[in-house]
């Protein structure tokens, strides 16, 4: 418990949670747009994130990190557009389940393709040298410059999406199609083209998240499988058809996961505060004494199940999942 009493741990964790939350938002925003508009639960979305990281690794070895920041997401976007136009659209007539299963198959193939192209082991995709230093010190703890950069990119991206959706024509059409896709089609807008744009745009965002997240975390073939379920949790937790909900959910998830690692408490500690001691002979002792950092991985799924049971629309959703 004494960890909480230290101001710097709190502040650094808060910043780290924010960085992670914004990274999640970059992934989840694309997914939420695709899911809300097309009804496709895109299991290959996290694969785009992984491809973004690997593309950035390969491109940055040739022409450096900064061009890769643009090239890798663009490649992901092009791939996304191709997938939507030539495959997903064909599957669409077989129903939503078929579309979903199609993306599951796609995720399999991309994972294996990445293994075949870049090997089974993590690749040495590193933070650029210019950002590989401490940005500032908080009560003796360092705040890494690259985290500041990630935060900057994600905030810029957040404003870019916001401007695009509220200030441009295509943005307004997308917003309308989020809630009333049939009506938008009836008004004469080219809904399939809007779908392609949204799918490609979502892939760009996922790719960008991969570019800046791949060297912050680890670039390895299993990174899609570890990130994928958490992004789903964020989307469902935030609610369908709501970017604001998605944003709040991303931050909550980032903070929860970061603080779960820092706070070294267990249910038994909590009970001890209430004056109940847990004996080691208690059959539930194992569950009660397990420290919070070890349970951290469970929390997102617990939150997912709880929110779906209590409020199936999610935090700010406009319709049922």
């Amino acid at each position: 418990m004494e960890g909480l009493c230290h101001m710097e741990v709190l502040l650094v964790s808060l910043l780290n949670g924010l960085v992670y939350g914004m990274l999640l938002f970059m992934l989840a925003s694309g997914l939420t747009l695709i899911f809300s508009m097309m009804g496709v639960l895109n299991f290959a979305h996290a694969s785009m994130y992984m491809l973004g990281a690997y593309f950035a690794y390969s491109v940055s070895r040739v022409i450096g990190f900064w061009p890769a920041l643009v090239v890798a997401p663009a490649l992901c976007g092009a791939l996304g557009a191709l997938i939507e136009m030539y495959a997903l659209r064909r599957v669409h007539k077989n129903g939503h389940i078929a579309e979903l299963l199609f993306t599951v198959g796609l995720a399999f193939i991309i994972e294996k393709a990445v293994q075949m192209a870049w090997g089974l082991l993590p690749v040495p995709y590193r933070v650029p040298a210019a950002l590989d230093r401490a940005l500032f010190h908080v009560y003796g703890s360092n705040f890494h410059a690259y985290r500041g950069f990630m935060l900057l990119i994600s905030v810029l991206m957040f404003f870019a999406i916001w401007l695009l959706l509220t200030r441009t024509r295509i943005g307004l059409v997308i917003q309308a199609a989020l809630t009333h896709p049939e009506m938008v089609g009836a008004l004469g807008h080219n809904v399939p083209r809007v779908f392609t744009i949204v799918f490609a745009g979502g892939s760009v965002l996922a790719g960008l998240a991969g570019v800046i997240g791949g060297n912050y975390l680890v670039t390895e073939p299993s990174m899609a499988a570890t990130m994928g379920p958490i992004v789903f949790v964020v989307v469902v937790f935030g609610g369908l058809g709501s970017l604001a909900g998605c944003f709040v959910a991303s931050l909550i998830m980032g903070l929860v996961q970061t603080f779960a690692v820092v706070l070294d408490v267990s249910l038994a500690d909590l009970l001890a505060r209430l004056g109940v001691t847990v004996a080691s002979t208690n059959p539930l002792a194992e569950v009660l004494t397990i420290p919070l950092p070890r349970v951290g991985a469970l929390l997102p799924y617990l939150m997912l199940i709880l929110v779906l049971l209590i409020k199936p629309r999610g935090l700010m959703g406009t319709r049922d999942t």
């Binding site: 599957v91 078929a98 198959g105 399999f108 294996k112 789903f232 779906l308 199936p312």
Partner: protein, 443 residues
């Protein structure tokens, strides 16, 4: 549909009997007979031993048939897409492991033949608890809850020692000394026959379940849950009961898994196992009862056979899966059923020609694709593992140009030819279906 129902109703009960059963269910009985005798084809008479690999693959097929069919109770029959079905299999397996260990320790004289029932009850119990939450929702929300439950239980399995044994899993010893028939269950072939027996019982039970009012209501709630509600049924209750029963059969599969391998680890509850259920069921076909059986046999055979030869199993599975989803959403069984009206009209022979012409291009595309995938694979993974790509003693260098050009040419030529042949098939298909329809229209 209604016609056959009338026929069933008016048929005198006396005519039903062994002969009737044989006539109607002969494919099942044939499959069962085949399952019983097939290990003896691979029996090594010089050493008096069964082939370990064959028995292991056959056992796995049996387990996966039950697992896939129990998955189809949700996906095909109730329209519930689950991403965490392995949880029910795995928990059934863990329960069995603990019970078998206790029986071995002399806590109670439970015959080994009945332990799958214990696993089934374990799966049933957990399905009641988890299903209480999961079946509150349907469609995508149900899929997401099951995804959450799957990840939750996987994390728990790695975390808790007492029940799950952490990363090491729970191991047990199936030779408990308690048996109804005095068998020791040391040799895998004895366990295989136990699996055959339980698979037969489970398949029969699941088949009969589809014919009960519950099975029909599950179909109704899948097709139009609002209307089912309107008629007076509670769709949630139907989903819940279906989920619990599906958990029972998945638990039996888990118990048989435990008896076969004598160890249960977190792999049995994790996402790849759930994905396997989805793969088998969908490739086999969700719309036909026997579909998942076909899928389970095919996927296990491919998995164990291809993974012996190549480490790119996941690519082939993924491509097969995508092709099925795109072009044959009914699965293999659906493809077969499409031919039924043509077969009844006696015109299936007309399609034989176009199908035969498909053989050449399909073979070309297949060879080209496999070559390309293997070249990719050997370029990176193979080099890392120090393997070389050899084709009947000719070593192929994946760094050279020629093999890639050959693969590209095969793919391109095969693709174009396949397109042409497919067009021929489509024309023939259309002509035949028109012919079948026309007399009906005249009448």
């Amino acid at each position: 549909m209604s016609e056959s129902a009338v026929r069933t109703a008016t048929r005198p009960l006396a005519a039903e009997g062994a002969a009737g059963l044989l006539r109607r269910e002969w494919p099942w009985l044939a499959a069962l007979t085949f399952a019983v005798i097939v290990p003896w084809f691979f029996f090594d008479w010089t050493t008096g031993r069964h082939s370990g690999f064959i028995v292991s693959v056959l056992s796995q097929i049996g387990i996966m048939i039950i697992f896939a069919l129990s998955y189809n109770m949700l996906m095909g029959q109730a329209g519930l897409l689950s991403f965490g079905h392995a949880v029910l299999l795995g928990l059934g397996g863990y329960v069995t492991a603990h019970v078998v260990t206790a029986a071995k320790g002399g806590a109670f004289p439970l015959p080994l033949e009945l332990t799958p029932l214990v696993g089934g009850l374990g799966g049933f119990g957990f399905a009641i608890v988890l299903g209480y939450f999961a079946t509150k929702q349907r469609a995508t929300a149900f899929a997401m809850i099951t995804l959450g439950i799957g990840e939750l239980i996987t994390s728990c399995a790695l975390m808790f020692q007492t029940f799950f044994g952490g990363e090491g899993g729970v191991s047990t010893n199936r030779m408990t000394g308690h048996s109804l028939f005095g068998l020791g269950y040391g040799p895998p072939i004895q366990v295989y026959y136990l699996i055959v027996a339980w698979t037969a019982v489970s398949v029969a039970a699941m088949l009969l379940l589809t014919r009960t009012p519950l099975g029909r209501m599950a179909n109704a709630c899948r097709d139009n849950f609002e209307r089912a509600q309107f008629v007076g049924y509670d769709p949630r209750m139907v989903r819940f009961v279906q989920f619990a029963l599906s958990g029972f059969f998945a638990g039996i599969a888990g118990a048989l898994y435990t008896l076969t391998y004598e160890i249960v680890t977190y792999d049995t509850v994790a996402a790849p196992m759930s994905a396997n259920a989805l793969l088998m069921t969908y490739i086999g076909g969700v719309g036909v009862f026997a579909g998942p059986v076909v899928g389970a046999v095919l996927v296990v055979l491919l998995q164990s056979w291809v993974s012996l030869l190549s480490n790119s199993w996941l690519v082939y599975a993924g491509v097969l899966f995508i092709l099925m989803v795109t072009f044959a959403p009914g699965g293999l069984a659906g493809l077969v059923m499409m031919h039924q009206p043509i077969w009844r009209a006696g015109r299936l022979g007309r399609l034989a020609g176009p199908y035969l012409r498909l053989l050449g291009p399909v073979l070309l595309v297949l060879v080209g694709f496999v070559l390309a995938v293997e070249l990719c694979s050997f370029l990176t993974i193979g080099t890392a593992q120090g393997k070389t790509l050899t084709l009947s003693r000719i070593t192929i260098d994946p760094h050279g140009g020629p093999p890639w050009i050959v693969a590209g040419l095969l793919l391109a030529a095969g693709g174009l030819w396949l397109r042409h042949a497919m067009r021929g098939l489509a024309t023939a298909w259309q002509a035949v279906t028109e012919e079948i329809k026309t007399p009906e229209l005249r009448a």
